[in-house]
Symmetry: C2
DNA sequence: TATTAGCACTCTACTTGAATGAGTGCTAAC
DNA sequence: GTTAGCACTCATTCAAGTAGAGTGCTAATA
């Protein structure tokens, strides 16, 4: 048996109907649907076929049909034409608060959640290489030093260092030179204990605290401030009856709150192809256990060459794929634009 | 009618029993409870009195009694003796990850949530005065400057400034002097447009971009990075049947996710009296609408003179007050200690 | 006088069974 | 190939009945 033209039409009708209502769809409903003029009996026959082919499922004998993961997948891959969503207001909201990138991304998560009524996840961009661009040690007061490290991509790290005895200005100057000579241009991963040891030898003879200072700087440098993850709209999950099982919903919200597991989701192959890097996971396809009953759509934005971040939307399997994908596409274009301007 | 010794004993028994089970407590249960040897009939009479006095409530005619807000209040105020909780493991967990204060506080929220099974809120400390301690402008590369502002309490702010044309080292030096002369020692609130204008006049004549730079610095300085709020264990809410009404639970979790409304809760009078600033809100007493069916316990920690932050626990009214208060007291001592050491 | 035993009463929660209705699969007719 | 029709299935709803927990009141008791 094969998927002919009519079966596809019927399947599409079933899915669209189910997306709207969340209820199993019966043959009578479809027979009255749109342009295909068939009796419910005929539809029933076709539905039996579609079920045999694995595109739809019957929750129990006398219920209508609902799409299977395979059915959704077909829908997403072939039957969907992008629905464009109004991003105008969204754009406005975004730009208002967008002073720092972090805030911008938080805002993105929030606006997106409010607009779609799904849960959203946004990651800060991942810098593949984190080369040290610049290091500076400054005296704040007699016993406190401030170490500032600027990485490629203008990520600034700083660390306060408290020393037991005052340090001479001259020593600080020397340390600055040593630090920059040794570390500038290196990737964070290249900075190891051996290197620190060499610096210590180089700086030996000034004071005993130098060693402490270098350790502190090394620590600050190596401190992984990994990709940050912002979430929003977790409670939207509870709006969908099919996800509102207390046990499961709780787990899902916990995942969003905890954020650790989300890495898996947001780290998957980042490639920005024709489709703006939009990826759809349905049911079991997601790498996160607690989302097995959901659908997840992720998109990739680009800050500059090689620096990518992700935006994800989590909702029920019957999420409005067209709208979500359309919205994400627009949003990606928007974000790319904003970052280009900022640059 | 008055609360005599026996009535108090019975009330206490009712409340403690209810805290454990979450079910209305009947007279028979109490008659078998602990040291007071009375028949269920006697208890019934007393219960009728207690109800008349407003300390307990009957959900319906043939159910046992549950404590009213007034009952809980009496319990918290007079009948509770602090239960000390093992904070040893907690201490360990805390110190492990506590490199930066932010991380420490996040960790506090999390550990507390896991240990108590309630939702938790932690705020970063609020600095009453934010005096500028130190400002420095550094050249990162030809067109990029980094402004670093250190405030009292060692809060570090930084801002990248991109300029159209390269700036001479000498100019940067001058600017640094001007910035420090004008701004050091001032409170953030004292820095206004007039002052910026004066600086601009002072610096006029170098290059046109100086004005831009000063504006950027001014902006960075005035950027309110207000008290941050961390939450954890929001999903614990769902563990308590009496809060597990989808509508209400959703609102509550949303409040925790959104965080804005939490300010109200965490901003209330901070005074660290005999009781380590521990405050208990029961039901309607809380300033946050979505917590009307909960109890909230907040405690205040101190980083240094005049610099306070808060820790809050949100749970059902039948929360284990003794344990929570005890734990918070210990935690506060612990935190005070940690900050003393760090200092 | 305070306490208690006992009993009638109330109310919820649970179970049961019947009615309802949505939806199916199959067959025979068109 | 399509459709009308019918028997069948199963979730849902509702009412009625039952069990059990708990109360309030009264009368007996210490």
């Amino acid at each position: 048996m094969q998927l002919d033209e009519r079966k596809i039409k019927i399947l599409k009708a079933i899915i669209q109907n189910y997306l709207e209502t969340g209820e199993p769809v019966g043959s009578r409903t479809i027979s009255k649907y749109g342009d295909l003029n068939l009796s419910s009996a005929t539809i029933r026959n076709e539905m039996a076929d579609l079920e045999e082919l694995g595109y739809i499922i019957q929750p129990h004998t006398s219920a209508g049909r609902i799409p299977s993961d395979k059915g959704y997948r077909l829908y997403v891959d072939t039957m969907m034409q992008d629905k464009v969503m109004e991003v105008e207001e969204m754009k406005e909201m975004l730009v208002q608060k967008a002073d720092k990138m972090e805030n911008l991304l938080k805002q993105v998560a929030k606006v997106l959640a409010v607009n779609t009524n799904y849960a959203t996840v946004v990651t800060t961009p991942k810098y593949r290489t984190k080369k040290v661009k610049f290091i500076q040690l400054t005296e704040v007061d007699e016993t406190q030093l401030l170490a500032i490290i600027v990485l490629e991509g203008n990520i600034v790290k700083n660390k306060m260092i408290t020393v037991a005895e005052p340090i001479e200005k001259e020593v600080i100057l020397k340390l600055n030179i040593i630090l920059n000579t040794f570390l500038t241009g290196l990737d964070l991963s290249e900075i190891n204990l051996g290197l620190i040891q060499k610096m210590k030898e180089q700086a030996a003879g000034y004071t005993t605290v130098v060693s402490d200072i270098l350790d502190a700087v090394a620590q600050a440098v190596s401190e992984e401030d990994d990709v940050q993850i912002f979430t929003s709209g977790a409670t939207n999950i509870l709006k969908y009856p099919e996800l509102n099982d207390t046990e499961k919903a709780s787990e899902l919200i916990y995942t969003l709150e905890e954020k650790k597991q989300l890495n898996e989701l947001m780290e998957n192959e980042i490639e920005k192809g024709e489709n703006k890097g939009i990826q759809v996971y349905i049911g079991d396809e997601t790498p996160v256990e607690s989302m097995k009953d959901c659908a997840v759509v992720t998109a990739t934005y680009q800050i500059e060459e090689g620096v990518y971040g992700k935006v994800g939307i989590i909702g029920p399997k019957r999420m409005d794929y067209e709208k979500v994908v359309g919205t994400l596409q627009n949003l990606m274009t928007e974000l790319d634009q904003i970052f280009k301007e900022k640059k």
